[in-house]
């Protein structure tokens, strides 16, 4: 009976053929990037699942947002667990993304024919940070409000699209109730949809161009599938442990008065920038330092995007410069946190 049902399904969906294809493909047996990639897909799915559960009772209205979140965490069965999973996973998502990208950069895997994999990866980083950031606004607590103000102001200092992006994030010239609406729209609609599409493309390109690696390989299925499943299980255990025993506080509701006295700290993934800006003199090379630093970072981003063309061979210089840049960002972030 079961066999019949399976055959019926396999005939109609081609799942057997797909498994067949997967088994014929091989994956390097010692690779961190593949594990990280698999974990990232899993964390994204975890975010979608917990996000949908949060989407139903959450109310994206400045007067209701904080209270509805308090109700979710305080009254709904397993509400605080779901919220904890969602919040912790979002931090993990950014951490794993950064790691995934850093390793790819250091191993110079952006070379031909992986350009599209590289670019979709960079896009995913931008979208991932965007999701984490818009998500941090949704609780509409004091810190969220201040972050929305300060971070969007920062983004507005960026070159070319900066002012336009700031306007888009704020939903107007200033941070207002529309900011919450925009953040909600981006966080629950635009960005997850974009992530899904880009991720699908990214995985498809990986499947297509996974170059035959030097060193030992194992079948993608079932060998690698089992391994990644074990890794995902461990990660889920870590996430629910964090969500249960290290809950992320909702904080006090935003009051739009008396905010000058409070100091807004940006989310940790912007901290390196925050540190740079704090240490910088007011003007650099005749520009406001904020404009200068964001301009410089945009140039770095441009170089990163253009890397497959700049460094066709994957020389050691790229690895060296990349390592220095990554170390700097990590050190600045650590300095701000400690």
């Amino acid at each position: 009976m079961v066999a019949l049902a399976r055959k019926w399904l396999a005939d109609r969906t081609g799942s057997a053929a797909m498994l067949e294809r997967m088994s014929s493909r091989r994956v390097p047996s010692r690779t961190v990037t593949h594990y990280l990639g698999g974990l990232l897909v899993f964390v994204f799915l975890l975010e979608v699942a917990s996000g949908i559960l949060l989407l139903l009772p959450y109310r994206p209205d400045p007067a209701q947002a904080h209270a509805s979140l308090t109700a979710i965490a305080g009254q709904l069965p397993y509400g605080s667990l779901i919220r904890g999973i969602h919040a912790w996973s979002s931090h993990l998502f950014v951490v794993l993304l950064a790691l995934h990208l850093a390793i790819t950069l250091l191993l110079r895997r952006f070379r031909e024919p992986n350009e599209l994999i590289w670019w979709t990866g960079l896009l995913l980083l931008a979208v991932g940070v965007g999701m984490a950031f818009t998500g941090s606004i949704l609780p509409w607590n004091q810190n969220a409000y201040l972050q929305a103000r300060v971070s969007s102001e920062m983004i507005g200092q960026g070159p070319l699209f900066g002012p336009w992006l700031k306007h888009l994030l704020r939903g107007g010239e200033n941070v207002s109730p529309w900011t919450l609406n925009h953040a909600f729209g981006f966080h629950t609609g635009v960005l997850p949809a974009a992530t899904t599409l880009i991720l699908a493309a990214h995985v498809a390109f990986v499947q297509r161009h996974a170059k035959a690696h030097d060193g030992p390989t194992i079948p993608a299925h079932p060998d690698f599938t089992v391994r990644i499943a074990a890794a995902c299980t461990a990660l889920l255990a870590i996430v629910i442990t964090l969500a249960t025993f290290a809950p992320i506080a909702i904080g006090a509701p935003a009051t739009l008065t008396n905010i000058t006295s409070a100091e807004a700290t940006p989310p940790w993934y912007f901290l390196f920038l925050h540190e740079l800006l704090r240490a910088a003199p007011p003007r650099l090379l005749g520009l406001e330092s904020a404009k200068f630093i964001l301009g410089a970072l945009s140039v770095v981003a441009g170089f990163t995007i253009a890397l497959p063309f700049i460094d066709r061979r994957g020389s050691r210089i790229t690895m060296f410069v990349g390592a220095i840049f990554i170390t700097l960002v990590v050190l600045l972030t650590a300095h701000a946190l400690l």
Binding site: G74, P77, Y78, I218, D223, T244
Partner: protein, 453 residues
Amino acid sequence: MRCSNQTLLAALALIALAGAAGRTAAAPADPPAGAAPKVATEATDGGTDDAAKKKRPVRDSNTCLTCHRTLTDTKLRVVAEEYEHSVHQDERIGCVACHKGNPTDPTVQSHDKTTGFVVRPTHSQIAATCGGCHEDPTFVRRFNARLGIDQRKMYELSRHGKIAGAGDENSPTCTTCHGSHAIMPVDSPNAKVNRRQVRDLCAKCHADKEYMKPYGLPATQPEKWSKSVHGKAFAEGHEKAPTCTGCHSPHAGTLPGTSTVAALCDRCHQDERDLFLKSPHSRAFRKLGLPDCVPCHGDHDVQRTSWLAGMAPDSSCSKCHAKDEKPRKVADEVASILNDVEGEEHGVSVALTEAKSAGLLVPDASYALDRLHTARIRLVATVHTLDVAQLTEDANAAKSLAAEARDIIARARRDRQTERRGYFAAIGVLGLLFVLLVLKSFELARRRRRSAP
């Protein structure tokens, strides 16, 4: 180049000269007798002397200060210093406002009593001296539009003023409370009459047994007030809590429209008074000629009712009803109702604190506790009716709020336990799955090795 240097030198010399001229004009060290020095005021100007065009401190029109600031006799120097830091420090008032005499005469002849100079106004002159300005609306208005002009009249109506009028030199007059030279505005933290200092100011006389004896007054009020709910509330920083002047008007003693103590309490405690008028006490007190609030609450040593009710030896009820059967029963009932509800509130508040520190989110319990607190305050007010049926009803409403809060907390605790159990179950399942997957992975690895050529 050299030319401009010379100009610079000339300018410097001029400035130095001007400075010296300014100094000599400001401090006439040894002027010839009878010759009054030219004094710059706002109206007149040096004119001839270019350096004097620089406006000098207006104070120098008051030459009393010029000398008194420099005197070695401390008593005479301090009056100048105190005056200069007082609210009267203004050349339109000056020393002459009270002491008369000629302020522009810097010689000792200005102290000649024949010119009208007053060394020190006598006790009986002081009120009139202050009133000279303080009863003049046009004069007072020039300095402070919100300042009253009835202080002297009020004072004369008060007991202080009456004994002073009868020639009692020990009675307080304006300067007794306000000081004579270091007079500060009432809202200045340094003023003796400021709310924060006023209790100690009154205590200077009213806590002195010997001093109060001739007037037949107890000297216990300041001490009693400090131990009362009012004094404690004030000490805890409740600025609106009444100090001495909260009930005794600062100048008149009695506040307008308060012929009885009850009418005074009424100013803040209206509900209690309305409820009291419904009680059997109201009629009985009137018959006995007792002031409404005082028999139970005292006057200066007002205490919390929950300590007063009941039949404990030091309670209010036992003062009158030590041997009365029915009132004793009512008193005990009232006390037990109050203690019950107070205990409930305390219990809920402790439980809530514990729940919060355990990280439970129980905003509804906080809200129930707030309502419980309000209910208890209302209950304390209802005690004034002595209506046990009403009290019981209110107390039950309060208790149901306490139960509601406890239920919410208990439910949150149960939910937390359920979640914890769920967590450990999930970790168990995930652990098992992980082990199985790892084993499977090893098995696959073995299979790969076997199939490898």
